[in-house]
Amino acid sequence: MNKKFGIKEVVAMGIGTALFVVLTNVQIPLGFIPNTALQTRAAVLAFFTAVFGPIVGAVIGFAGHALGDAVFYGSVWWSWVVPEAVFAIIVGIFSKKYAIKEGEFGTKQIIIFNVVQVIANAVAWIIVAPVLDILIYAEPRNKVFVQGVSAFVANIIVVGVLGTILAVAYSKVGAKSSSLQKED
């Protein structure tokens, strides 16, 4: 059995995607800007990716976004599905550094996690999404960049707040790998 891609990863992909789909419709309305909302699913994606790595994350992001859009909105906006996977891959590459499962998600890891998520969100929503919108759908430039930037801002808030708290809480539940102490 390939250790890197075991049963747990397969199940995590499945359940993570299901979670992501369900949370498609769970948004926190920002209130002051119409039609923008904080997507709670972004935090879930970041969390699952941080715990299970880039492949699991990319599948959750890609399949979850496509499926969630399909069942809730009846159409799939491919130019926004791809960035979701891009985001997951970037966050996931550094998943070893966060050490969430090892129970060592402390201040240093929180900083790394948040720096990476801001960069990943920027690449995904300010570069990849608008460019694909222009290439695939020939939409007006300024419109897609305004949309991209607002998605970027909303997502860094969600991932930064909810994603970080989730990781901290889950890290505390798991056992610390260095928690054993030598008896005197």
């Binding site: 499945g14 359940i15 993570g16 369900v22 159409s75 419109k143």
Partner: protein
């Protein structure tokens, strides 16, 4: 009316097709409608979509709510395009025929209307394909057929699990939400933004941690049954590709090639009636 699209067992020609065939159709169909801005191609696709819709005996009750939602989305998008770029049509088609002069650069031109009409057509051609795929494809059968055509069975199984657990996670979510609301947690606009994020985490935390538990339970069960031990596995819901599957696949690919040739014949993807 169901608020979310789900598979429904029916006995039609389309239900009888393999999940892979429908998936291929859905992919090719949405790629073509993504690429083309050719009004003629889009119109033909729209017509075909309606035929498919009729043949699959999809009822309004199954898709009505979602459809209304899409319309709202579409209108918002069309308005946004006009707001941000009222002269996109002129830029694309090269001419400018003002119909209704408004303030400043915001005039309604024939070209802009035509451009936005094309965006609308694009929306309408994709929708039936997506709806059709979701309501006529049995999830277990789909996962099995994905493996049959060469997708690794671990990925197929992950997709099967995802489709299988969406309703379960959904019901978990509703239960937790009701429980937290009974404890007096405010989720509406009355609470401030920070307050709302905090309250949302009161739902999210139990949901995600119960899901993490579920991952452990399910993967232990699968391990006990020897999942992943052999290179191949058999499927309960698997279906062999039949003659009509191949016929549909070939027709789909031929259609896509023809549509793209017509679209790009004159050098770009727009059909220009103004010159």
């Amino acid at each position: 009316m169901s608020r979310i699209l789900t598979y429904e067992e029916k006995n039609t020609w389309i239900h009888g097709l393999s999940g892979v065939t429908k998936f291929l159709f859905f992919l090719v169909w949405s790629i073509v409608s993504m690429l083309t801005y050719d009004t003629r191609v889009l119109a033909v696709m729209l017509l075909l979509s309606f035929v498919i819709f009729k043949v699959s005996k999809t009822s309004w009750k199954q898709v009505g709510t979602v459809f209304k939602f899409i319309l709202l989305f579409l209108v918002l998008n069309l308005l946004a395009v006009f707001l941000f770029s009222p002269n996109q049509g002129t830029a694309i088609y090269g001419t400018r025929t003002v119909l209704v002069p408004l303030v400043g650069r915001y005039s309604i031109t024939k070209e802009q209307l035509f451009y936005e009409f094309n965006i609308m057509l694009k929306y309408f051609t994709v929708i039936p394909a997506v709806l059709m795929f979701i309501v006529t494809t049995n999830p277990s059968e789909f996962a099995a057929s994905l493996n049959k055509v060469g997708v690794s069975y671990k990925i197929s199984y992950a997709i099967a699990i995802a489709l299988r657990y969406v309703p379960d996670v959904q019901s978990d979510f509703t239960k937790i939400k009701h429980a937290q609301e009974a404890r007096g947690i405010e989720m509406s606009k009355k609470a401030s933004l920070m307050e709302r994020i905090k309250n949302m985490s009161a739902i999210l935390f139990p949901l995600i941690f119960s899901s993490m538990d579920r991952i452990d339970v399910v993967s232990n069960a699968m391990e006990l049954r020897g999942f992943g031990k052999n290179k191949r596995r058999t499927w309960y819901a698997g279906k062999k590709l039949t003659g009509k599957d191949y016929a549909v696949m070939i027709a789909t690919v031929l259609f896509a090639v023809a549509a793209l040739v017509i679209t790009f014949y004159d050098g770009n993807r727009f059909y220009n009636p103004f010159q």
